[in-house]
Symmetry: none
Subunit: 221 residues, 4 copies
DNA sequence: TATGAATGAGTATTCATTCAT
DNA sequence: AATGAATGAATACTCATTCAT
C-alpha cells in the first residue's frame, strides 16, 4: 500500500522511556508503601497499570529495577548533600547543611534508600552499595569532627567511629520518623522540629568540651 | 502471626525441652548468619540436626520461633538495662549505665534483635513489638534529658524526640558495628572504643549549653 | 472455606474462561471417579492437562472449586425440579415430576452433589449448603404430603419428617445406584426401572390409607 | 533377690485387652464426634489417654481399628435385626421388627456405621463391607416385598430394587437424623416419632394397591 | 507394655519468569 | 511493544508411623 509512513523512531524511543519511568515511579510508590523485600513484581506491574510480561521488557529483576532507582538517586545525591556542605567554612555549618541536604534527599528518595537498606540485609551486593552511600556522609562528617577536635572539642574519640554513629543516627531517625512513622504515631512530627532535634545532638556532640577537672566517675560516696 | 494459632502441644519433658532449646540456639546462629527474613525453616532444622517435621512439634512457624526468642530476650532485658540505670542518681551516669546495659544485651541477643527488626519490616505485629522494646529505652532516656534540661542543658528540644534519635543511634550502631560489621571491615572495633564513641555523642548532646549570645546563623564573619 | 479468602483476580478473557471451565470439567471427572475428599489438587490439574500452579490462577482451593461447581448446579437446579413440579395440579403428579427432575439433575451434576455431600462430612460450611439444597426438596414434598393428608391419606405423620425420609431415599438411591453402582454390580439398572421403583415407594407412601379397623399388632391368629 | 514373684500372666492378658477396648471406645467417641475420615490417629490416642506409639501395639492402622469395631458390630447385628425379623410370620410385622432392630443397632453402633460408610467412599475394601452389611437387610426386605406381591400388593416392581431403595431410606434417615442431626436442628426428634414416619413409608409402599381402573396419566385436557 | 520424640513422604501453595499471541 | 496465561521450582506444613528408652 502506498501510504508512506513516517518513521516513528523518535516517539518510539520516547514511549519506551516513558514506560520504564512509569515502572520506576510505581516501584517507588510500592516500596514506600510496603517495603522492598515484601514487594512482589506483580504489585509493581499492577501499580504501574502494566501487564506482568511487560516488566521484563525493561528490567531483568526486582534487583535490576532497584539498581535503576539507585542510579537516579546517585545522580542527584551530590546536589543535595555534598555540594551543600562544601560551601561552608565553619564545620558546624557544614554539618547542618549536610543534615538538611540528607533530610531533603531522604524525603525524595525514601523508597530508594529503604530499598537499598532492605536489599542489603539479604544480598551482599547491596550491602556494598549501602556501605558506599554511607561512606561519603561519614567521610564528610569525620572531616568536620576533625576540625572541631583541632579546636579542642570532643577530644579522644576516633572521628570516623563517631561520624559513623552520628550518620547512623540521622539515617535511622529518617527511617523511623519518615518511613515507618514509628515512635510518634499519635502526632505528626513537624519537619523543622525533627531537624532541630537531630541538630541538637550533632551540635552538642561536636562542640563538647569536658569540664576542666573531671571528677572520677562513681567516686566513693 | 496476627492470626493467633494454637501453639502445638509443647511437650514438657526433659528431652523435649532440650530439643526446643537446640532449635532456639540453631535459629540464633542462622539468624545471625543470614538474617531472619531469608532464613528458611529448613536452614534451621538442618543447623539443629533435626528433620523437617520435628520443627513443627515445637513451633508453629518461623514467627512462633522468633516469638520464643523474644520472650527469653525480654526476660533478661531488665537486668541489663532498666535495673542498671535505676541506681544512678546522676542523669549522665544513668545514661552511661543504660548504654552499657544495652550494649551487653545486644551482644547476647543480637539474633533476636535483628530478627525482630527484620520481621517488623514485613509484619505489623512485629513492628508493634519492636516499637515497644524501643519505647522503654526512649522513656528512660527522655527522663534523663528532662533532668538535664531542668539544669539548663540542651534547651528547646522535645525530650522524647531527642531520646528517639539517640536511642536509634545506639541501636543502629550496634547493628552496623556488631551485626553487619559494616563501616569498619578493615579493622576490628574494640568494644570499649565503640562504647566511648557512643558515650561521647550522648554526653555531648545532653550537656550542651548554647553559647551565651547566640549569633545569627550564617552571619558574615 | 469458613474463612472467606479473597478470590484470585479471576482473569476474564476468553481464553481464561475456557481454562476455568476446563478445570471445572476435569474436577467433575475426578470427583465422579474418586470422590471429592480423596481428590488431590494434582489429580485435577493433571486431568485438566495443566500445571500445578495454574490451578491457583483460577481457584484458591479445592473448596473454592467445589463452590464454583455448586454455583452452576444451583443455577440450573430450579429448571429441573422446582419448575417441573410447579405445573402439576395433582400432588401425585407433582411428586413424580419432582422425582424425574431430581433424577435428571443428578445425572448431570453427580460430581457436584457427591462433592457437597462429602465435603459436608468434614466441613460445617458445606453441611449448611447441603442442608439448604435438601430443604427445598423437602419443602415441596411436605407440601404434597399435606395435600394428600387433607384428602385422608397417610394420616398421623409429621409431613416434614416423612418428606425428609422420602427425599433421603431418592437422594441415597441416586448415590448408590448411579454414583457408586453399589447393590447392582452384576447388572446395569435401567433408568426407567429405577425411577419406577422409587415411584412405587412414593406413590404407596402418599396414598396409604390404613385398613378400616386396625387390628391389634401381633394378635394371635 | 529372693522375692519370688507370682507370674502375672493372666492379669497381663487382661490389661492388654482392656487397653485395646479403651482404644475402641475412644475411637467410637471420636468417630461419632467428627467422623471417621477426618479423625486423626492422634485424636484417638489423646481421647484414649494413651500415647501415640501405644496405638500401634494394638492396631496396624486406623482401618484396622475400624475393622475391629466392625467385628463387634457384626457379632451383635443378628440379635438386633435378623433374629428380630425371623419370628414374624406376617411380612409387615417382619418389616417393622427389622426397622426397630436396625434403629436400635444404629443408636449403639453409630460410629461404626458412619465409619464404614465414610471409609467406603475412599477405600474399595470398605465399599465391599458396606455392601455386605446392606445386602442382608436388602435380602430380608426383598423377601417381605415378594410375599406382599404374592398377595397382590405393589405389583410390577423389582423387589430387590425396591428393597434397596427402602433400606437406603432407613439408613440415610438414621444418618441424617441421629448422626448429623440435619433437617431438624430446631427441635429434638422423638425416637418413636421418627420410627413412625419411616414405618408409614414402609407400610404404605408395601401395601400399595393401584386403583382398579388406572386412568392414563396426563390425559388430554 | 508404654512412652513420646523423631522421622520423612506426601501435599498444598506461592511467585518469578517465559512465551505464544 | 504489550499482553496475560502458563509454568514449575522452591518452600511450607501435616500426619501416619517408627524406635530408643
Amino acid at each position: 500500500m502506498p501510504k508512506a509512513k513516517a518513521k516513528p523512531a523518535e516517539p518510539k524511543q520516547r514511549k519506551s522511556d516513558r514506560t520504564r519511568d512509569e515502572f520506576k515511579a510505581a516501584a517507588r510508590r510500592v516500596f514506600a508503601r510496603s517495603g522492598y523485600l515484601s514487594a512482589k513484581i506483580n504489585d509493581i506491574t499492577r501499580e504501574a497499570g502494566k501487564s506482568a510480561g511487560t516488566f521484563y521488557l525493561y528490567f531483568t529483576d526486582k534487583e535490576d529495577l532497584l539498581r535503576a532507582l539507585i542510579e537516579e538517586f546517585y545522580a542527584e545525591l551530590p546536589h543535595n548533600i555534598a555540594l551543600a556542605g562544601n560551601g561552608a567554612s565553619d564545620p558546624m555549618e557544614a554539618i547542618e547543611d549536610g543534615l538538611r541536604g540528607y533530610w531533603n534527599a531522604y524525603q525524595k528518595y525514601q523508597a530508594d534508600i529503604v530499598g537499598i537498606f532492605q536489599a542489603a540485609m539479604v544480598d551482599p551486593a547491596y550491602e556494598q552499595i549501602w556501605r558506599e552511600i554511607r561512606a561519603s556522609g561519614i567521610r564528610m562528617t569525620a572531616h568536620s569532627i576533625r576540625r572541631m577536635q583541632d579546636d579542642g572539642a570532643c577530644p579522644g574519640v576516633d572521628p570516623t567511629l563517631l561520624a559513623s554513629a552520628l550518620c547512623g543516627m540521622v539515617e535511622f531517625a529518617c527511617y523511623n520518623w519518615v518511613s515507618r512513622r514509628i515512635d510518634f504515631k499519635e502526632r505528626e512530627i513537624e519537619e523543622e522540629e525533627a531537624i532541630q532535634a537531630l541538630l541538637a545532638a550533632l551540635r552538642g556532640t561536636l562542640s563538647y568540651r569536658p569540664p576542666a577537672a573531671k571528677p572520677a566517675r562513681r567516686r566513693i560516696r
